[in-house]
Subunit: 408 residues, 2 copies
């Protein structure tokens, strides 16, 4: 019996993402914060730096003492001391005086700038010539110039990159509140599917989706929780779905949208408490027969069984939901690579077509070469560098057009 | 005393990368292979799929039985059986016959194609009408069409993405030989630098580089090994360097290229056995006073002390060496994002300038907005989305020029 979908656009599906809540938070040590999503606004306990700091090796001076100095007409300055790293200088720099300072040193009272050692000559133990004039503040990072303790250094909801880890260190954060990594339950279905450690018999194939989807979950900052393979058995499916919903923050069942298993999946969803189907069919290819349900506040996905289709749907549709559940404050900007399409591509109107492409450089131009092939062939994803979209109202793209490539 | 560098171009420095060797290999379970570098050529133990497989729900037929069929003139076919998923059909499809098959099912002997259920009508228990003709091979993945067992499915030296994890599963690989994650020793130097858990006193600043560089090492697939902060003490520095070289595959010392510490670093390198300085100064800004040495076959880096400079040098110079040590077969293609420069940028000739930029979208155009600020300010890296390079022979870039942005 043929089933008719009430197909929705990708945009309409993505609009549901905001209705799911981020997971709760936990504390992690600084060394483990990379890639995690920050869950607190961060303030430094001190100004950074907490003193006027030299950015050069040279002499701390009052800028006015150097005004007018040149190669032809150097300023003569008295060396009044030497600054030790990591200590407050005990003396003051007066007009006409200079104090030896290294990069990172603390400016003494009275000094407002640093003249680079390359622009000076030492005449004797107590006198230098300065060949340039410096401006007030030159070669100095002022107290609080990097981060002021009164202002937030970081706002919650961002993914922590190496530079944010550095900034957290500067702020004295040895422990950081981050969103917990969401657990994502993964279920494969199909009587023909066998686990990786089995040699497939006649008509059997190994489970690919559990492993490609686990990889995509890990890349997105989640933790995959594998529930194994469900044969076409309604009771087993219901029990696995119940367990997955109990122990994880989001569930993905793959193959569950092909005709036989889809019937079971819909049946099971109909029986689970506090569960409703939000989407049943998306105007996208590959991956049209995708299901999205909400069960007890959690997203539950019925993904296509074909390996390529499941990965494309994860990339384009599921990932923004997972980003939201991860605690990311804003939709993640996916900046595309621009390339020139290498051949004509036909497409059906009324749906968005995602085409796998390989990127090839020729004479300095980046070309996108479509990889055609059935959506059941995982090797086409291995050959692919990215995906291009052909919009709803387009009948195709022409060779030579510039396309936006979303890297895989 | 001023030191003169024998400054080399970035290209000349990067050419040294090929002279370092990848680390050794280890076995990891399939579930842990994501992001690792494959160290073996992978063959499947079976053809994938190992049988002719339907890609649709419908009927397995001999294509010739449908030739000429249309809505007006359907072909009548005898239903000779139904294919069970995951089993070899026990019957043969003869001319004029059709066997019910679901997506993923195994084609019976005699059948060479599948007609979609949507293009048929069931007349009674044993007869269907087919409204379309199908070509031989249509809606079928042929035995070995995804992967042939006689050909390598994957070649060593690539980083494993989710799709490669899926392919490894299909090939029956429960354990995979990958390159060990290289250990990277990280040493910070400076009398003014204190650890994160200390409140900086007068003239002191917390250690940023250990944490930003650790993050960069993790992102690159390495394992940071932190050796802490060395005060400006030659013996302590030597001991830490010896230990780091002993226990890791590459060493980065930051701050060790500023005048004081640089002298010590060079002294220490001169005394270590089987050690030679390869590079002392790169025509790049920020980060000119970078040191690269080889010690017992391992790369040893003296990175600048300023937080931004150290991160830029890691991104542009160190990372390709680490990629090589990780076992990656080819130089990693870093595909840039194109954007339009938002203001004029001046630059000195004779060096490559790296400028931090923020990416802003305005009226559908991606703009690169330079973030100016001293290279000692970590918050400028936090604000930045990427880096743009201004070439050796350029005096600058103009507002409105298209620039290539390397994401951070």
């Amino acid at each position: 019996m043929k089933e008719f979908f009430n197909v929705e656009t990708i945009e309409a599906v993505l609009a549901h993402a905001a209705s799911f809540s981020p997971v709760d938070t936990e504390m992690v040590p600084l060394a483990e914060c990379l890639g995690r999503v920050l869950a607190e606004d961060v303030f430094s306990d001190v100004d950074i730096p907490d003193f006027n700091r030299s950015t050069m090796d040279g002499y701390a001076v009052r800028a006015a003492s150097t005004f007018g100095a040149s190669e032809a007409n150097p300023a003569y300055l008295n060396v009044c001391g030497q600054i030790k790293m990591g200590e407050r200088p005990s003396f003051t720099v007066h007009p006409g005086e200079a104090a030896k300072i290294a990069t990172g040193g603390m400016l003494p009272d009275g000094a407002d700038s640093v003249i680079m050692v390359e622009h000076t000559d030492r005449l004797d133990d107590t006198t230098i010539e300065a060949y340039r004039s410096v401006a007030p503040g030159q070669h100095v990072i002022e107290k609080g110039e990097d981060i002021r303790r009164s202002e937030p250094a970081l706002i919650q909801g961002i993914r922590i990159r190496p530079q944010e880890a550095g900034l957290l260190a500067a702020c004295g954060k040895t422990e950081i509140e981050v969103f917990r990594r969401p657990m994502v339950g993964i279920i494969s279905t199909g009587d023909e599917v066998v686990p990786v450690d089995r040699v497939p018999g006649d008509g059997q194939i190994r489970d690919i989706n559990t492993h490609s989807l686990s990889g995509q979950v890990l890349e997105a900052g989640g933790v995959p929780m594998v529930f194994g393979i469900v044969k076409d058995d309604r009771d087993d499916l219901e029990e696995k779905c119940r367990r997955a919903l109990q122990f994880t923050d989001m569930v993905m069942i793959s193959g569950g949208s092909s005709v036989g298993a889809r019937d079971y999946t819909v049946e099971v969803l109909d029986e689970l408490p506090d569960t409703g189907i939000l989407v049943h069919g998306i105007s996208i290819s590959p991956g049209k027969p995708t299901i999205l349900a909400r069960s007890g506040g959690k997203a539950f996905w019925g993904l296509p069984g074909h390996a390529v289709s499941a990965m494309v749907i994860f990339t384009v549709v599921v990932r923004p939901f997972l980003d939201r559940i991860c605690g990311l404050r804003q939709a993640v900007r996916r900046l595309p690579i621009q390339a020139v399409l290498r051949r004509n591509l036909a497409s059906a109107q009324g749906r968005v077509d995602y085409v796998r492409v390989r990127l090839v450089e020729e004479n300095g131009t980046l070309l996108a070469e479509p990889i055609l092939g059935k959506s059941g062939l995982i090797h086409t994803m291995v050959k692919a560098d990215g995906l291009i979209a052909i919009g709803m109202n387009k009948e195709g793209l022409y060779e030579g057009e510039t396309v936006n490539v979303r890297l895989l």
